[in-house]
Amino acid sequence: MNLLQACLLVSSALFCIGLVTALSRSNTILVLLGIEIMLNAANLNFIAFWRFSPAGTAPATGVIFVLFSIAVAAAEAAVWLALVIALYRHQQNIRLQEATRLKG
Amino acid sequence: MIAVTPILSVATSVSEWMFERATHSLTLVATGNDRFLERFPLLLRDWITGHLPESLGWLAVSLLAIVVILAAFGLLFAYLTLAERKILGRIQNRPGPNRTGWFGLLQPFADGIKAVTKEDVVPREADAVLHFLAPVLLVAMSLLGLAVIPFGRHLLAANLEAGVLYFFAAGAATELAVFMAGWASHNKYSLLAAMRALAQLISYELPLLLSVVPVVMLAGSLSTTHIVDAQGGWTFGWIPHWHVLTPWGFAGFLMFMIAALAESNRSPFDLPEAESELIAGHLTEYSGFKYALFFMAEYFGMCGLSAMAVTLFLGGWQAPCAFLEFIPSYAWFTVKLLTLLLGFIWIRATLPRLRMDQLTRLAWKFLVPLTLLNLANAAFWSLSAGWSGPLQWVRWAIAVAVVVGPFLFLGRALTAGVAPRTYRYA
């Protein structure tokens, strides 16, 4: 196991922690936080691959990818804050399993 | 346990990273051929580190920088509180503290001893861990930013390529600490204050950063040393090339200072600790040394933002005239820093506190549009750098118009319908 694989394992573990959080918690905020963790895990991968890529290839693609990913995460955070507030206004709590009103 | 791990980890990774930086700045020193006074701090440092083995040199250099910053700003903090009390007193026509030591010069130390010896009260319902962590984190975070400020020609703790970004990233965590303090106290006033602080800090983070962007754009670098270097030189030997002396720089400086006032929770933006509404805000449940730590953090934050303003707009350690260069650079930096800090105190004594709606309106409807326009103005300034002759005047006229016109227009539009206040029974 080399350092790159260690990085990837850490990011896989982080991803799975995020997944478990998103799956197990009923609070919408925590579910969304779990998703943020997964996003971070993915970013970790980008940086790890960029750091250990062979010299002379792909100048800064990993870094730029992560920058855009962070920007998108910021946009996402704004939207999910609004979603949580709208949800709270509609059902007076933020339990995700109760938000099934659009079911067909 | 929770608290120790991150701190350990931080310490190791940051110190390793500092090592590379420190070695980098070591090489920079040898080329200096300036006066003795200018190099004196470096000589002192080399003399101290010279007694240590080579392998520990970098550690000593880093530690020395930290110790010097802590000592200097700790002392500055102590006497700034005294100065503030004295100046406020003089402005309000009373003497201020004058009993402890000559002219009250020992007052800060008396205050410190008193704070340490007081009982540290933690409410029963409070979240003990967070209650303890909040002041610690606050002080730590407000100190971090000082690492990238060039206090003199050779006095810089960490020469980062992204120094400006680092400064604001470090500052971002202070909001978190304020929130922690408010929430952990389990007191409704504290929580209200924390909410206010959050809203205020988020609102003013934007104009603060946006007013910095033009400087970064014009200097072409995020590094604080480069930004200071970009402001070097004089026209006719006595007009410095500081950013504040350009239309966009002047406007940017003013807006940066307004946002900095709000970011450091100083009057007239001290709503989170508005004593007439919220007792003492997020400080309500704190006493003794923790309370003192909060104050320390506030002053460190103020010093950090002022130092950044000096670096970005007022030419950093550059002397104002060519023939004044014989005075060492760190003296100039100190003079500029103290001027801004006294400005902070003066403003506190002069202006009444804003209301919450006025506060957010000022940020979103006034400062943010103006900073965005200023960004365009700076872009114009950089594009028109080659204009000469009569065009030079046109360039100035346009740049000034872009600054002044929207200011008047927005100011008028926002105060429309608000009659000047009359105090009939006062």
Binding site: A22, L23, Q97, G104 | P390
Partner: protein, 674 residues
């Protein structure tokens, strides 16, 4: 002080900026709009003086700065700036006189509700005129030329709530457009022949020898040279702009605008543009002179038109009763002089007269404005009178202007510039008729100006307004004094004894002669001036008018002639009867075509579309719909079945995703793909 040709654009740009500021200022911002306009004019004046300094360093050189505006294919449309003494002298005059008029307007328009709009338009006017001056391309000249027209339209119709003002603005606009059509045609022709419209372009410009040789070689039908035809078309534009016969009719009507506007139009900007244009393209006008076997030379036409206009304007001015109309017709007449000078070959004399005329005509108009302002907008000279005692400054300065215009000898600038023109006409080899016309006009000019001054300033007040008039504030009188000083002194730079202006304008040193050059002609013209003044004094000054309704002494003597002159020789009616009628007839025909022919075709097409639509709809409803209905039912059934999988629980979806991922990855791993 020096100003390079590449910075020349700043001169018109400053007033243009002021106009923009004025346009954006709300009604309340009076001081902002007027301040911007006046500061811009001061700036333009400073730059113009600097430009003059640059130009006088090498009077014979045309400094240019050309640039490419845009490119089409391989052709590039190029514009440029031109700096020579002609540009510089004109720019100094326009910005100086304009500045004084702006300052005067501060007082004159003080009570007007649309003060800011007025200054916006004034600045636009000045900017357009300065643009004409600095342009080095006929195209750029044309653009600014039309802007001048637009600004004059806006300003003449400034009081558009008055029907007469609105009509006058329209008339001015349309009449000058007729001339501009000729200019546009000439421009297109020139571009067709030469492929460029730059005046000077290092040997390739249209006014440079190679181009002129080419143009004067080509002959077209009727035995006239190509350059003659193009020059005459360009002259059409000048006829319209400078109010020459037969398109002079708009100029007197333009008096409906505020008086500072009249001053600006008559003195500095609009009418000067025509004379300036001919002076600018003078090499082109001159190109056919060496040809002997052509039917007509361009300049002969110019001289003829100028002589007719000079005579006609002076004659009609005798019969007018409105102060401003008298002055307007005197402008027509003086412009005729300038054209005459151009036509007889002395463009330098024309520009000299243009400069002096700008000063004393601005002075006269502003003086008239001062009178009108003081007398509560009473303009009929029969109802004024006796103002000399009440308005001493105005009277004194107005008298200076009157004497300059009449050509009172030696002291006044008008005398010297007019002498220059008369001498040039005398030296013209082709004909002496222009000289005769000019000399008759000299008598008439002296006569009607004496009449004007006597009626307005002498005698006793003949209405309430006149008896309550008093002197205006310094903001109005100081410009008058400055202009009066200019009207006296400006003549000194162009006397035959010291022809500084003439030498510098053309870049060719004119030898100095004695003051009394060609004594015979000068004595004759002095005698004629005295004759005009004397007759005027005898008729109007000796026995003053008692009341507003007493008949004019001249009308009493020659009722038929006076009535014809008062009716402006019936030009307006003649045009209404001929061109107006023709236009109406064409409009009726066009209306009929529109209503019946084109309208019918459009209705027919519309009806066909409607019929097609109806047919389509029927097809859809009966044929296609049933098939779609059946398909939709099927889709709905599938959708119902599918929607059962949607539980609405977000956790469930995410879980499914995770399990599916694991299964897929296991398949790949075990299947040995990885």
């Amino acid at each position: 002080m020096n100003l390079s040709a590449s910075s020349l654009w700043l001169i018109p740009a400053l007033p243009l900026l002021a106009a923009a500021i004025g346009a954006l200022t709300p009604r309340g911002g009076r001081s902002l709009a007027s301040g911007a306009a006046i500061i811009a004019m001061v700036g333009a004046l400073g730059l113009s003086v600097a430009a003059l300094g640059t130009a006088l360093a090498q009077p014979a050189v045309h400094l240019t700065d050309n640039f490419t505006w845009f490119s089409i294919g391989t052709d590039a449309v190029r514009l440029g700036w031109l700096l020579d003494p002609l540009t510089a002298f004109m720019a100094v005059m326009v910005s100086f006189v304009g500045l004084l008029i702006f300052i005067f307007s501060l007082g004159y328009m003080k009570e007007d509700a649309n003060f800011t709009r007025f200054f916006c338009f004034l600045s636009l006017f000045a900017a357009a005129m300065l643009g004409v001056l600095v342009a080095n391309s006929l195209l750029l000249v044309f653009v600014c030329w039309e802007l001048v027209g637009l600004a004059s339209y806006l300003l003449i119709g400034f009081w558009f709530h008055k029907p007469s003002a609105a009509a006058a603005a329209k008339k001015a606009f349309i009449t000058t457009r007729i001339g501009d059509l000729g200019l546009l045609l000439g421009m297109l022709w020139l571009y067709h022949v030469r492929g460029t419209l730059l005046f000077y372009d290092g040997g390739n410009g249209v006014l440079e020898p190679s181009s002129l040789a080419l143009l004067s070689h080509g002959k077209i039908a009727g035995g006239i040279a190509l350059s003659t035809a193009i020059g005459l078309l360009i002259f059409c534009g000048a006829i319209g702009k400078s109010g020459q016969f037969p398109l002079h009719v708009w100029l007197p009507d333009a008096m409906e605008g505020p008086t500072p506007v009249s001053a600006l139009i008559h003195a500095a900007t609009m009418v000067a543009a025509g004379v300036f244009l001919i002076a600018r393209v003078y090499p082109l006008m001159l190109a056919d002179q060496h040809l002997a076997n052509v039917s007509v030379h361009a300049l002969t036409v110019v001289a003829g038109i100028g002589a007719i206009t000079a005579l006609l304007g002076a004659a009609i001015a005798v019969g007018q009763n409105d102060i401003k109309r008298v002055l307007a017709f005197s402008t027509v007449s003086q412009l005729g002089y300038m054209m005459l000078a151009l036509g007889v070959g002395s463009w330098v004399a024309a520009i000299f007269h243009l400069l002096t005329h700008a000063f004393f005509k601005a002075l006269l108009f502003l003086g008239a404005g001062s009178v009108i302002h003081a007398a509560h907008h009473e303009q009929d000279m029969r109802r004024l009178g006796g103002l000399g005692k009440r308005m001493k400054v105005t009277f004194a300065t107005f008298a200076v202007g009157m004497m300059a215009l009449a050509g009172v000898p030696f002291l006044f600038s008008g005398f010297w510039s007019k002498e220059g023109i008369l001498h040039a006409a005398h030296a013209w080899p082709v004909s002496q008729l222009p000289l005769v016309a000019g000399l008759i006009a000299v008598v008439l000019t002296a006569f009607y100006m004496t009449r004007l001054v006597a009626e307005v300033f002498l005698g006793s007040p003949r209405s309430d307004a006149a008896s309550h008039a008093h002197e205006n504030s310094p903001v109005m009188t100081v410009p008058l004094v400055i202009l009066a000083i200019g009207a006296v002194l400006l003549g000194l730079i162009g006397t035959p004894a010291w022809p500084w202006l003439q030498s510098n304008l053309g870049g060719v040193v004119v030898p100095a002669e004695s003051i009394f050059e060609g004594p015979g002609l000068m004595v004759l013209s002095i005698v004629l001036v005295c004759l005009g003044l004397g007759v005027g004094w005898a008729l109007y000054g000796w026995r003053k008018r008692r009341d507003a309704f007493a008949p004019d002494p001249l009308a009493a003597a020659m009722p038929g002639v006076f009535a014809a002159l008062a009716a402006k020789l019936g030009f307006d009616e003649f045009y209404a009867l001929t061109f107006g009628r023709l236009n109406q007839l064409l409009a009726v025909v066009a209306d009929g075509l529109d209503r019946w022919v084109w309208g019918g075709i459009v209705s027919g097409v519309a009806w066909m579309g409607e019929a097609l639509g109806t047919f389509d709809r029927e097809m859809d409803e009966s044929g296609l719909n049933s098939g779609f209905d059946a398909a939709s039912e099927k889709l709905r059934g599938v959708g119902n079945a599918y929607s059962r999988a949607q539980t609405g629980e977000a956790h469930g979806y995410l879980r499914t995703l995770a399990v599916a991922f694991v299964v897929l990855a296991l398949l790949l791993l075990l299947g040995g793909v990885l």
